[in-house]
């Protein structure tokens, strides 16, 4: 029985294995190159996947010359700050939109909705001018540099709508009971409602983190100093630093990918379960 089931699906397996291999092959080839020593021709025909002159030297070399720890810390600060602000601001804004009646509710709702329709790339130039005017750039101070990378992405319509949806799912009796117990509106929000939307907060945190971690365009526009480079900007810079030393470029690229790979494997159920469909911004 088991065997016949397997046979029925073997074509599916062949296709899925092929696509899986194609999905990871560019990384495999990069890893292979990063482990080849100077004695091995990386342009050899036919190509060799398993290094003959195996070495860790490229990793050691690139680690010594490139401040990966610094890039990592910068990425952590920027992604961490972006996540934290998104959690706070989105839940604050989502609550009245889900639960309160007030004048201007419809306008607020559509104003937030409008921000989904406009791509950041179309308005990035004035955003940059405003960031300059507010002195939120790294030539003022490191803190200003970080804020300049965080604040334009500190709140998103996606987050607000996600939290609004979460608050709408809570039974109203919860609030009533809390009010009767003597809570005011802020206590209701903080002590009763917020703990109940933890799953949505987790989803928002994870997807905001991934988005912010991989962001390249905005940091490459605002950054002027190498000591504030985030990982994507730093990795792109490897190309200039090591012009055609592909062993180093490959080793550096792989090194920079390790943190997000660990994060992904630890959190994979959030990404591949399909429950959070459409959560990553395109």
């Amino acid at each position: 029985m088991k065997l016949s089931l397997k046979n029925k699906h073997y074509i599916s397996h062949i296709i899925l294995i092929t696509v899986s291999l194609l999905s990871i092959f560019p990384f495999i080839w990069l890893i292979s190159t990063s482990l080849k020593g100077g004695g091995e021709n990386i342009f050899a025909y036919p190509p060799v996947i398993i290094p003959k002159d195996f070495t860790w030297d490229n990793y050691i070399g690139v680690w010594k010359r490139v401040n990966f720890i610094g890039y990592f810390i910068n990425s952590m600060i920027v992604a961490g700050g972006t996540v934290l602000l998104n959690l706070i601001l989105s839940s604050l804004a989502g609550y009245p939109l889900a639960r309160m009646e007030f004048r201007g509710k419809k306008i607020s709702f559509f104003a937030i909705l409008a921000t989904i329709m406009v791509p950041f790339q179309a308005i990035m130039l004035p955003v940059y001018l405003i960031t300059l005017k507010l002195h939120l750039t790294d030539n003022i101070s490191d803190l200003a540099g970080y804020l300049g990378m965080i604040l334009p992405f500190a709140v998103s319509a996606f987050g607000i709508f996600l939290m609004r949806q979460a608050f709408m799912g809570i039974p109203r009796e919860m609030e009533e009971a809390a009010i009767i117990d003597g809570c005011n509106v802020f206590q209701v929000f903080l002590k009763v409602l917020l703990p109940m939307v933890k799953p949505s907060l987790a989803v928002l945190a994870i997807f905001t983190f991934i988005g912010s971690w991989g962001e390249f365009l905005w940091p490459s526009i605002v950054l002027t100093k190498e000591n504030l480079y985030t990982l994507p900007v730093g990795v792109n810079n490897l190309q200039g630093m090591f012009s055609s030393n592909w062993r180093y470029i490959a080793a550096g690229s792989i090194l920079s990918t390790i943190p997000i790979l660990i994060f992904f494997l630890a959190m994979q159920r959030y990404f591949i379960s399909g429950e959070n469909e459409g959560a990553v911004k395109g």
């Binding site: 699906h9 599916s12 397996h13 899925l16 696509v19 899986s20 560019p26 080839w29 990069l30 190159t33 342009f43 025909y45 601001l89 604050l92 804004a93 009245p96 309160m100 009646e101 007030f102 419809k106 104003a111 937030i112 909705l113 921000t115 329709m117 406009v118 791509p119 790339q121 179309a122 308005i123 990035m124 130039l125 004035p126 955003v127 940059y128 405003i130 604040l151 334009p152 500190a154 709140v155 709508f161 009533e176 929000f189 991989g214 390249f216 365009l217 526009i221 990982l231 994507p232 990795v235 792109n236 592909w246 470029i249 690229s253 992904f264 990404f271 591949i272 399909g274 459409g278 990553v280």
Partner: protein
Amino acid sequence: MFKYYGKYAPYLFLLPAFVLLVIFFFIPFFQTFALSFNDYSSSIYLPIFVGIENYIKLFKNPVFYKVLLNTFIYLIVAVPILAIFPLFLAVLINQKIRGVTIYKILIYLPVIVSIVVAAIAFKWLYAEQGILNYFVTMFELEPIGWLTDPNWAIYSVIIVTIWKGIGYYMIIYLAALMSVPNELYEACDIDGAGFFQKHLTVTIPHIMPTIALVTTISAISAMKVFAEIYVMTKGGPLNSSKTIVYYIYERAFENLDLGFASAMAVVLLVIVMAFSIINIFCFERNKYQI
């Protein structure tokens, strides 16, 4: 239910988010239009009001049409593939087979990795004496200038965008497939329908809204590509891989021609907004119901 909050409470809750949205969204939004009516090419501190001159310059510029054409190529190549192929994979994975989680993780991996690393990895595959050209020469063909031949560059970049998007859309389709009632498939089995017949008659009609959704979101993100191009080709050779966003970036931040870049940004804005409106009002309505 009684109203337990004060008159100003809702505004207080909304205030912090709105302050940031005003500073980093609404002001820049209107400023984009304002900038497009000014000339900054003599000095970026002393703009001169020039009316629609930037738009006239834009529409007379052959690069503008090249860039639009490239974005159009991006759309017609990437969008159909991203709308159909992930669906096919999702259908395969949705069968009760072994190793589903492993397949999902491996195929999703490109989504999670930084686009910069992905672009570098492909640049290495595309190298003149790289591994891809080895396979090309194996068939006794001339090596291809993947990123250096104007006829190939845009397609080489599109491949990266597609490769990075497949896993993402596959997961969206998988979620949609869960909602197809099993009885329909059972009915097909009783009627003796084959694999393709079954999915053409049951699956595709049932998840048509998701196919439409994937089509519009992949179109919107295809119009916003930047990093792939920045890392791999810088828009070259001969503008052959330059798309709208890269052109805006180049004119604004390398040539400091803010007015011209803003006119281009307005064009991008209009196109993307059209797609977004279709998306929000047709396919994601339930998500944004007031």
